[in-house]
Amino acid sequence: MGRKLLLEHINEPGIQTFDVYRQKGGYRAVEKALKNMSPDDVVEEVKKSGLRGRGGAGFPTGMKWSFLAKPEGVSRYLVCNGDESEPGTFKDRYLMTHIPHALIEGMIVSSYALGTNTSYIYVRGEMMPQIRILERAIAETKAAGLLGKNILGTGYDLEIYVQPGGGAYICGEETALLESLEGKRGNPRIKPPFPAVAGLWGCPTVVNNVESIASVVPIINDGGEEYAKIGIERSTGTKLISAGGNVKNPGVYEIELGVPVEEFIYSDEYCGGIANGKRLKALVAGGSSVPILPANLICKTINSDARLMTYESLADGGFQTGTMMGSGGFIVFDEDQCIVRNTWNFTRFYHHESCGQCSPCREGTGWMEKVLYKIEHGQGTIADIDLLWDIQRKIEGNTICPLGDAAAWPVAAAIRHFRDEFEWHVLHSGESQSRNYGLAHYADPIKPVMQ
């Protein structure tokens, strides 16, 4: 069994209440940080831990905190990004539902480290129950004197507010989230300036994912160095993975980074293998926006090394033969799934969620969706596949925010790895409407590339 840091007491009855959480050693980190550590010590500890942002980009959290501008007389803000809307990712919702105090505790410690007196938790608007849970948790914490004015007699004041989102995927992008939090239309801002310099209401702001903030708690409890011992190289600590798709046991798992992908899919401790005895066809390792991998690149990298659940190993091979850790939305496809249909489905999502601010994404996502619909429904031509490739290339990197990239990457990877399935859809248009392409040769071992 791997170590559990965030979900250690998840099966404890009543862990969502303050009393049980406190009994199980909750809010130790708040006491330790506020009473015995300076804010800079906390930042230093997080830096030592090597914790990387759990929201998708994997940027080191400690470094992000140290970038925060600290001008005199200007308030600073910590914003927790709970706008989890990536298809395939549901880890933050799980955390907020079942163990909300882990987030509140992390918020208090992080706010103290950054010197903020007001912090916000921006939760996706569709997650009303979670918003209620968090508000109840905040009220309980406040009643216990761990939140509000003069926390634990240390003179540190903190208020945490929960803000329901407006129901848009784009509001998970940090600058769009800040716009939305300010009450405006959730359009991403043009960077620079970065939020660390001018964020919420023009003040220095740090935006962190729910899981990153919750992970600060074990880091403070056990020390950054202890946390850094878990995991491999620059991927330290544990990570929540939300496994879905055609696996026997879908759900949220806390893994130590460095678990082999093969073990994660097939071991009974985690996903328990592919459901109904089918064979593995493809994997989206980190939420819908990361490149999809065919079966022969999932468990082994192109150089025949075992692929591990780490930021580096998943990205091994770059965009050619690798993927990304992303936000931990682990979607497994078995041999009965159609990659063209899936790509169309993802693109439909990005078309629906594009904010419409900059041209390549606004027009390009809709165009890709229409071309993919055509191919999926047996009316495509070979030229359409090349067209699709060209459209995604012209979106990628040319947009204000990463949504353009997120829309382009799944299409690019699907065409790169599954081009013959696309071609089969075009050439056998009748047959493609009645049956699937199946596993074909996607699980055949690939020859290592010779330099």
Binding site: S354, G356, C358, S359, P360, E363, W367, K394, N398, I400
Partner: protein
């Protein structure tokens, strides 16, 4: 003692220029002028906060600055990226930029109705220019284009949302010139729609300027609607004593008749001063105005065809071999027009 003025040295397509710190790449390029100026559909120097949206002004920064010479990983929007000392920028000399811009133009056109033959903006439309310079002859888009109903914004302005490229300029005008926010964007993605909230009429004195800032024919003057093609009209600069605005305008004549009044636009299509609705819509007689001189018109403009300047390529191109090479295609096209 006057403080020493610090100037940043920037090189754009091999042409050096010294600009004040805080200048954007686009404005630095405009100081050089000529063909190396990136096109801008959404940036408007008179409106704070515009830019960054249309992505036609993308350029490649091949050297970040003297201190940090690393190139920027992605193409950047030149209208919103400020220069650093020693920065080197490639615009038309970079194939990546030309390719990306072509892509953006194609994207801008896929949902555009291309109804230029009946559009009042034809002849002075930025999208036409851009399509002509960078676009392909045909389109690869074979699906139905998005359509909207026409909307009247007040009794003098009409909004053709079909033609809109969502540059947000009019939204900034409404936000910055008028006190109340009544004009904004509804919905998202390619369903986004410029609208006055609940089609509430805007009757502010300066709201007519949304017509001038619109780079395409989405916002048109109803008093000029279908009156004439712009290339049959002759622009003349004029002024009057106006109590609300500076009163400096361009009158568009057909024969003795003033067909329309607009702000005075510079070579990038930006007005000198915003004018009030009275000047724009109400005063359409020569007797209302003091005439100055015929408006100088760009030599490549269809408005200037037949009666203005002859073709004269900008001097920067004359002297620079690299630019000549990069610009060959476009030069060949303009040569044909001579």
């Amino acid at each position: 003692m006057a403080e020493e003025v610090v100037k940043f040295k920037v090189t754009i397509d091999g042409i050096p220029v010294e600009v004040d710190p805080g200048t954007t790449i686009l404005n630095a390029a405009r100081q050089i002028g000529g063909d190396i100026v990136p096109p801008a559909m959404c940036y408007y120097s008179k409106l704070e906060g515009t830019g960054g949206k249309c992505r036609t002004c993308l350029v490649k920064v091949s050297k970040g600055s003297e201190k940090d010479p690393r190139p920027m990983p992605k193409l950047v929007a030149s209208c919103r990226t400020t220069v650093m000392d020693g920065m080197e920028v490639q615009n038309i000399t970079s194939p990546d930029v030309v390719e990306a811009r072509k892509g953006v133009v194609e994207m801008l056109l896929i949902n555009h109705p291309l109804d230029c033959p009946v559009c009042d903006q034809a002849g002075e439309c930025k999208l036409q220019d851009l399509g002509y310079e960078h676009g392909n002859e045909g389109t690869r888009y074979e699906f139905e284009r998005r359509t909207f109903e026409r909307i009247d914004i007040g009794d003098k302005i009409q909004l053709h949302m079909n033609r809109c490229i969502l540059c947000y300029r009019c939204v900034y005008v409404a936000n910055q010139l008028t006190e109340e926010r009544e004009h904004g964007v509804l919905n998202r993605g390619d369903h986004s729609e410029i609208s006055t909230f609940i089609e509430k009429a805007l009757d502010h004195d300066f709201v007519g300027n949304v017509i001038d800032v619109c780079p395409v024919g989405a916002l048109t003057d109803k008093t000029f609607r279908f009156k004439n093609r712009v290339w049959f009209t002759k622009p003349v600069d004029a002024h009057r004593n106006c109590p609300t605005c500076a009163g400096k305008v361009t009158l568009w004549y057909k024969g003795d008749e003033v067909l329309r009044v607009t702000g005075r636009k510079d070579e990038y299509g930006e007005v000198e001063d915003f004018i009030c609705n009275t000047c724009r819509f109400e005063t359409k007689h020569t007797s209302d105005w003091t005439l100055e001189e015929p408006t100088p018109v760009d030599h490549e403009s269809v408005i200037g065809a037949n009666h203005y300047l002859a073709f004269n390529p900008p001097s920067v191109i004359h002297e620079n071999k690299k630019l000549q090479l990069a610009n060959e295609e476009q030069l060949a096209r303009t040569e044909r027009l001579k």
